[in-house]
């Protein structure tokens, strides 16, 4: 036996192996080590920053100087509830975010379906690239381009005026249009991915059972891709909810984003307090989305 032992090569006790031994049989240690970095940063760095912001919402300003003073007051928060203009702003923002989400879902579905189920392999490849490339074009450039397109002497009026129609001026309609445009790829991608994973056999089975396409869509396809639609909606909704650059260019009305950004310059406590509104809205939205299974599809 000794001869056999001498011939069998022993594994080297390298650093890697010694570390492995340390972790072996200790799942909690393994989990903690894996999570230390990401969770550590997200909790301490990110949540901590949000907590700092929340605390800042209770501060006030010096009267003349406008400097931040760290005294405790509920004024900022109560102002949000008592002044009617803020309710209008929040309502307007949420409504447009919802409209944008709906519009993008409607626009995305046919294209995603065509790409995933109907297009040939090469066309599909081209379409995927075609959908993803606009994501790389600068958000700012798109917004400014739309501003000129929608302006008095812009491309839209140039096309519509001969027909006797006038394009939308600055206002909520323009905001809805441009936001729907910019966030559309974020809705197409998860729906496309979900449709791609859906086996064709389901569709043919439905067809064999006598359902016409509309019926198949309503009863088979839609329930299956609903979580993916919600996943896409997380982006379209939250990106519209917090936007302040595009909305300022396209409308004189105020949105959640403009209120926060315009108050950061001279009233940080109020901006911080107002910022908790979209946080609360999105946390609720995310909890509902998670319930709907959307997190698997983001």
């Amino acid at each position: 036996m000794e001869a056999a032992d001498a011939l069998t090569p022993q594994p080297k006790r390298s650093v890697g192996r010694r570390l492995a031994g340390l972790f072996h049989g200790r799942p909690r240690l393994q989990i903690s080590t894996l999570l230390a970095g990401p969770i550590g940063w997200l909790v301490v760095g990110y949540l901590g920053s949000l907590a700092v912001l929340l605390v800042a919402g209770f501060w006030t300003l010096g009267e003349l100087s406008g400097e931040v003073e760290q005294s405790f007051t509920f004024d900022n928060f109560s102002q949000i509830f008592t002044e009617p203009v803020y309710r209008t702003v929040i309502g307007r923002t949420v409504l447009i975010a919802a409209l944008v989400t709906l519009t993008d879902a409607l626009l995305a579905l046919p294209l995603a379906f065509y790409m995933a189920k109907v297009a040939g392999a090469r066309t599909r490849g081209m379409l995927v690239v075609a959908v993803l490339v606009p994501l790389w074009s600068s958000y700012l450039v798109k917004v400014y381009a739309f501003k000129t397109i929608l302006s008095e002497e812009g491309a839209l009026n140039w096309a519509l005026n001969p027909l006797g129609i006038e394009g939308p001026g600055p206002g909520n309609v323009s905001v809805w249009l441009v936001m729907s445009y910019i966030w559309l790829p974020y809705m197409i991608i998860p729906i496309y991915a979900a449709l791609e994973r859906m086996p064709d056999t389901l569709l043919s089975a439905s067809e064999d059972l006598g359902a016409h396409p509309g019926h198949t869509f309503r009863r088979v396809i839609f329930p299956l891709i609903f979580p993916a639609i919600i996943a896409g909606s997380i982006f379209t909704f939250s990106l519209t909810l917090g936007d302040y650059i595009a909305v300022q260019l396209l409308s004189t009305n105020q949105f959640i984003g403009t209120i926060v950004s315009s108050n950061i310059t001279n009233n940080l406590p109020f901006a911080a307090a107002f910022a908790t509104v979209p946080i609360v809205i999105m946390v609720i939205y995310l909890l509902l989305a998670r319930r709907a299974g959307a997190f698997e599809h983001v």
């Binding site: 901590g48 907590a51 009267e63 400097e67 001279n266």
Partner: protein
């Protein structure tokens, strides 16, 4: 959710609670509390040292031109050559932005209008200026020295730059006859004619313009100073602006936006600065700008030195340079304002410049309602019932809706 034996759950809760506590604690002691002192001359330099190599400025658009907007418009390059101070400028669109930028402590100086100066002084963001170190200060118009918006207890807090009025610009083809009254942007009948194409300055300070109109049209409100508005006067101004808002196409704070808006036809009438009018006319656009009959708001700008200036010597050199007669003349003509330096009037390309802009102040310039920070003390027998700037900010939010 599968649960680990109890300890893990408590671990999460402890971590969360600790984070919240740490954040609150850190936020509490992390921020620096600026104790504002007024007329504290202890930090004022008594003599000028060598230039530090660069100077970082916050300025109104058009004040610090280095040839990139127009190659012929440049008073920075010669300064950089003479002093070795490289100039970096951050354009502020409104006084609010400028105050915020100065608070970061990353800039050496700012060209502050009257509605920013007192906030900066009170917040300890700027320091008194030793005018003896700025030779050209001697030639500044007396009407700009020791004003309530640029000095405290007789101590100057900056070097005057120049002043001018907010004008009314209109498209000569779309708006006939050319309006000279504020009614063009405040009277409903006239607003309706330009519905969707009216513009206004996007800052709470614009409330003063509404107050000026009310001074002429509703004298029983008793407004004597458009920055000292009590409850009734303020509400009347806000109501007027809310009416105006229905006809507004877009507000502007970035001057290039107003240029595009008038060039594109999106705006046809509204408040403006002379420099915008001049730039549009140079491009061949059919616009003109007038000073309004009822009086107008205006701005008187002062160069101030940051309390956290890293390059104070270069800053003093810059201040002296910007008001030397030739430079001050160039700026005044480019921006369309009255220069601060009396001698600049001899150097303007148009010999009548100072006359047109009333640099001496005896025609209309001294009667302008210069931007200043509204405070609760009305300054008369009404006492402390006037609206503060915070109220104005709040009011402006309501106006925009």
């Amino acid at each position: 959710m599968k649960t680990e034996p109890g300890s893990a759950r408590w671990a999460w809760l402890i971590v969360a609670g600790l984070t919240l506590f740490l954040a609150a604690f850190a936020a509490g002691c992390g921020s620096s509390d600026d104790d504002s002192t007024t007329a504290d001359t202890s930090d004022m330099p008594t003599e000028l040292g060598e230039g530090e190599g660069e100077v970082n400025l916050v300025a109104w658009a058009g004040y610090v031109e280095d040839g990139s907007t127009d190659p012929k418009v440049d008073w920075v390059t010669d300064f950089e050559k003479e002093t070795g101070c490289e100039v970096n400028v951050k354009v502020g669109n409104t006084s609010d932005e400028m105050v915020q930028l100065m608070r970061t402590g990353e800039y050496d100086g700012v060209s502050a209008s009257g509605d920013a100066t007192l906030r900066l002084i009170d917040g300890g963001d700027v320091v008194p200026v030793n005018t003896d170190l700025v030779p050209n200060y001697a030639d500044v118009f007396p009407g700009l020295k020791d004003q309530p918006y640029n000095s405290v207890d007789g101590q100057m807090y900056g070097i005057p730059h120049g002043r001018g009025a907010n004008l009314m610009m209109s498209n000569t083809e779309d708006v006939k006859p050319t309006p000279t009254s504020l009614s063009a942007v405040f009277d409903e009948a006239e607003l309706a004619k330009q519905e969707g194409h009216v513009t206004a300055y996007d800052s709470p300070i614009y409330i003063a313009d509404a107050a000026v109109y009310l001074m002429a049209t509703q004298p029983d409100l008793g407004i004597t100073n458009p920055y000292e508005l009590d409850e009734d006067q303020f509400n009347a101004a806000i109501d007027l602006l809310k009416t105006q808002n229905e006809y507004i196409g877009e507000y502007w704070s970035d001057y290039t936006k107003e240029i595009s808006a008038f060039a594109n036809g999106d705006s046809t009438v509204g408040t403006t600065w002379q420099v915008i009018n001049q730039l549009l006319q140079a491009d061949g656009e059919p616009v003109t700008a007038e000073i309004t009959d009822e009086g107008a708001t205006g701005w008187s700008d002062t160069w101030m030195v940051s309390s956290e200036a890293k390059n104070p010597n270069c800053m003093y050199m810059w201040m002296n340079h910007i008001i030397d007669p030739k430079t001050n003349a160039a700026v005044a003509e480019w921006f369309g304002e009255a220069p601060a330096n009396e001698k600049a009037c001899d150097f303007t390309a148009d010999p009548k410049h100072c006359e047109i802009y009333d640099a001496a102040g005896d025609k209309y310039l001294d009667d302008l309602y210069y931007w200043t920070t509204p405070v609760s003390d009305c300054g008369d027998d009404r006492g402390e019932v006037c609206k503060t700037y915070d109220d104005w900010v709040q009011g402006w939010t309501e106006v925009k809706g």
